[in-house]
Symmetry: C2
Subunit: 274 residues, 2 copies
Amino acid sequence: MSKLKIAIQGVPGSFHHQVALRNFGEDIEILDFDTFPSVAKSVANEEADFGIMAIENSIAGAIFPNYDLIDRFELSIRDEYYLPIAHQFMALPGQTIDDIKEVRSHPMALLQCKVFFAQHPHIQLKEDTDTASVARDIAAGNLKGVAAIASSIAAGIYGMEIIAPDIQTIKNNFTRFIILQKEASKPTTSVNKASTKVTIQDQKGGLAKLLTLIADNGIDLSKIQSIPVIEKPWEYAFFIDLVFEDPAVFAKTIDEIRASFGEVKIFGEYLSRK
Amino acid sequence: MSKLKIAIQGVPGSFHHQVALRNFGEDIEILDFDTFPSVAKSVANEEADFGIMAIENSIAGAIFPNYDLIDRFELSIRDEYYLPIAHQFMALPGQTIDDIKEVRSHPMALLQCKVFFAQHPHIQLKEDTDTASVARDIAAGNLKGVAAIASSIAAGIYGMEIIAPDIQTIKNNFTRFIILQKEASKPTTSVNKASTKVTIQDQKGGLAKLLTLIADNGIDLSKIQSIPVIEKPWEYAFFIDLVFEDPAVFAKTIDEIRASFGEVKIFGEYLSRK
């Protein structure tokens, strides 16, 4: 059997690569892309079996409005994954923290480790566009005195030594990722969460009524995001994640929304991992 | 008087650069940064007088959850700007469309011009991480037969010739940008829009009640986005843009929200440009 092909954004060793390994195991083939649209496209054209996308609270860099990509490429959400964000301080092997003159990383990663760097003021902070690719570049250039902040997987891939582990200031920080596939599969396990797009015709008070209907059915909202519908200025659309106990109540609620408000698109029904 | 310093994300000629020129005129100094956090930081530490950030519907690439950056860096929204998205097909001067073998651009830009490229199937599409920087690289490398999709400003800056103007499929597409400053200034014009962060204690039905209160005051919602508050799982926060006719009614509504729901942070009060 050929290996599963998993599309990720970022270089090997990135946060997306971590999620791929934890979710699908070691025996996979990674297709790494520079951008989220390229990840979505590779799943849509079946180059990849599954795709992985950060969707909330990523510190790993930019998050494209990824629900919009799922919508445009007509992909389906199969599962979600919460990755604890941990930053490892790493450099070429054999160096101590006193040898390090400079650290390069994404500004959000530097910001998240500011207590650590305040304790080591001899290290100069330089902003870069990524985390794992700095580890790759230090290894490729044999750059002494330069450190990266990246994952332990990146350290393994690029032969870096972790000088100080878990240097992030906030220890309980997670990024939510979603696992994408081309075709919606019938859920094999019990599901209690769904990602949807709801389009309503009139906004003033319309959203309040929609959310009242949802709350009256005992269904919880775990995410809501409005989408500007530019070509139809009288329409408003929202990406809404719903959390429910009974799939039958969820189905009934969707029917009620369709009857009273308009279109509902379901991107996926899955098990909440939170 | 020294020139105003405007921080942008992207290289000169990018969409952010266009907004800077249209909003502040030609006589400015551009500070260009690779990432949105760097833009926010440069405004926070007063390196730049103002910053420009895409906030909704950008096709120019990734949008970091930028309201979160405004919140973290305690910046203030001074104004907004809607830029019509127009894609110019450009290459080194003297070439015709038949000379072009390949176009390189951001996948979203390529996608938005798909009707044009379907009419010119001899041109191979290559994905890149940006739009304007491709124009820069073609000029720097004197690359014949290669085209970029970028702004007319990028064509001017990098000495490229526009072979086909306005090749985007959808002609009425806008990206919303916000203009940032460090300190909140008292609005000098009449205002009818505000960007806020509202924190509420209990989610089930709580958001429905909040939006009902807002609707009952005759205030419109132009954007809503939930924010996961990871360290306080019993709290929920939302970025909400409100549009109102009377600033006094807006102020009264904010007082009512504070009394019934909790914390409200106002990022800025400004004039809607839509």
